[in-house]
Amino acid sequence: MTSDALQRERVHVSRLTRALENEKLLAVALLAPAVIILVLFIAYPFVMAIWLSLTNLRVGGVGEFVGLDNFIKAWHDTIFRTVFWNTFFYTFWATVFKLALGMWLALLLNRHFRMKRIIRASMLLPFIIPTVLSTFAWRWMFDPTFSVVNWVLYHIGFITVRLPFLSDGDWAMWCAILVNTWRGVPFFAITLLAGLQTISPDLHEAAALDGANAWQRFWHVTWPLLMPVTLVVVVFSVIQTFSDFQLIYVLTGGGPANSTHLVATYAYQLGVGTGLLGEGAAISLFMFPVLIAVV
């Protein structure tokens, strides 16, 4: 390289450096990638869904603007009402069980015992197995013909007739809640455990000296101090459970007779299964105000 070329290179470099010294330019440069990704993958689909919900688009057709017709239709649809109620029921009970069991596990794991780390880590297993796989396993366990649970209960002598795990509407809903709980408890337990570990043991000792028994120590010291963490986990869990799709899709497909359909699975069935993209989009958007309220 000639000295001229070197000189030019140096000037070039210093110009770029100088440009980046400008905070406004630097801010734009640093934010741009994130903004582009957000627009492409979140804003565009979201706006698209809103647009679709206002049209009568079908797969392969050209949609026309129909205003709020899709929403009005959904609201008058009895299946949709069942589905909407199902979603609340499913979310509420799954969250209650996850919180209760997660808290119990976290309190147990917060004690000192042998092989603490291995046990803490192994507890995350349900969380790291892909939902589809683990739900398939559950579906086999609840299978009308091959259910291992029925087989065991029958041979122990607890039951004489097979339990209708997934073939009865109520049973199927509770099974779905059970599987969701099984899958979600580790997240609650680990997060609450992290919260528990920030609470100084001195506070428990002080409370013990103050005359509080174990339950009172939990109620007056642990629980209030854990509240911020608990709120975050519950909000996260409610959002995820309310918009749950995979688990229901694999376990029951929404049946029997729509008794386990959730908003997300029903929207999918209408939009993709039946091809009514507009109506499907409108139904999925019913989740939006609820989740906004939760957040």
Binding site: S200, G211, N213
Partner: protein
């Protein structure tokens, strides 16, 4: 009101013995201070009295009751923690009232006791605040308040002043002492600060490596330490230690060292006679060293060079070197010496202490 008795109390953590055969009698209304370096077992002992640690062996009595198996809440004690351990989500009032509520005191009684304690500690205007809105000193008062509302038989303090700045610590020390005189409740107090121990304690327990080294009143520990550890631990600046050999010459005993020769005072003759020809450790308190004047006998003085001068206002600390020995002398502030000047230091023979070089016990 209660006395506390420890009988051969031991504590093992796996193979490590944290507390070894502690026998102790804390008298009714006494302010007893445990002092020692970190890891000496003082906090463990306190926590065993509180019931927060199990006792490996031995017995602990509070009042007349054997409390080995009693849970902390049934021991009728209150404890002030090093980091205060205030409930961060409760107001000052609720922090103080919590113990009474757990014990189902009637509401007016709780209110009265909290108000009284707040009055004593001068924190009435803080009652509605949360702990995070308080300064370190105020939190300390609230922690004290939480302890005194309960009117317990026994107060336990686990280094309660160590998180405060130096000035506040001195102030709180005085207040604690005043509070103890007012409440007349037996107190056990743990600290690693020997000044705190000396100023607060009616009696002081010096511990090291899980063993009680000496129990006594502050001045007794200072003037008649039982061993070299206590002598060195109590007092600031620390006692000077010099290795010497004992020789019998011209009818008396002499403490010899490469750099000086000092006559053993008559009071120590008996104890040191068996040590003739052997090494012992000579202990000299900094204030037992003064600048010699014309009337100082040669047999109780020696030459030294001044290495560092620390003028503290009320006194001057001279770091001097005598042969291979470094020593500190606490001298009158009016004295003028120069750095590296050779001076003659006089010993106060009555205040010399001798320790066995092997077992380190006082002779």
């Amino acid at each position: 009101m209660a006395e506390v008795v420890l009988k051969s109390v031991n504590k093992m953590y796996g193979n490590v013995q944290a507390v070894k055969d502690v026998d102790l009698h804390v008298r009714d209304k006494e302010f007893m201070v445990f002092v020692g370096p970190s890891g000496c077992g003082k906090t463990t002992t306190l926590r065993m009295i509180a019931g927060l640690e199990e006792i490996t062996s031995g017995d602990i009595y509070i009042g007349e009751r054997l409390v080995n198996e009693l849970p902390p809440m049934d021991r009728d004690i209150a404890m002030v923690f090093q980091n205060y351990a205030l409930y961060p989500h409760k107001s000052v009032y609720d922090n103080m009232a919590f113990g009474l509520r757990m014990r189902k005191f009637p509401k007016p009684e709780i209110e009265k006791r909290v108000k009284d304690a707040a009055d004593i500690l001068d924190i009435e205007m803080l009652l509605h605040r949360k702990p995070r809105q308080l300064s370190g000193g105020q939190r300390q008062r609230v922690a004290l308040g939480r302890a005194i509302v309960r009117h317990p038989q026994l107060f336990l303090f686990d280094e309660p002043l160590s998180n405060l700045d130096a000035k506040l610590r001195v102030q709180m020390r005085v207040e604690l002492k005043r509070l103890h005189e007012r409440l007349e409740t037996t107190a056990v107090y743990v600290t690693h600060d020997q000044v705190e121990a000396m100023t607060l304690g009616d009696r002081v327990v010096v511990m090291k490596d899980g063993l009680v080294q000496q129990v006594g009143e502050p001045l007794e520990l200072y003037n008649q330490p039982k061993n070299k550890f206590v002598a060195g631990f109590i007092g600031s600046p620390a006692m000077n230690f010099v290795e010497i050999s004992i020789a019998a010459e011209s009818g008396g005993l002499w403490a010899n060292n490469a750099a000086f020769q000092i006559k053993v005072p008559p009071a120590k003759l008996e104890a040191l006679r068996p040590k003739v020809g052997k090494q012992v450790t000579l202990g000299i308190r900094p204030e037992a060293l003064q600048i010699a004047n014309g009337s100082t006998p040669v047999e109780s003085s020696f030459q030294a060079s001044v290495e560092v001068i620390e003028p503290l206002g009320s006194e001057i600390l001279l770091n001097v070197r005598c042969g291979t020995n470094d020593m500190v002398a606490r001298v009158d502030p009016s004295i003028r010496v120069k750095l590296h000047e050779n001076i003659r230091l006089a010993l106060d023979p009555a205040r010399l202490q001798f320790f066995d070089s092997d077992c380190e016990l006082a002779l």
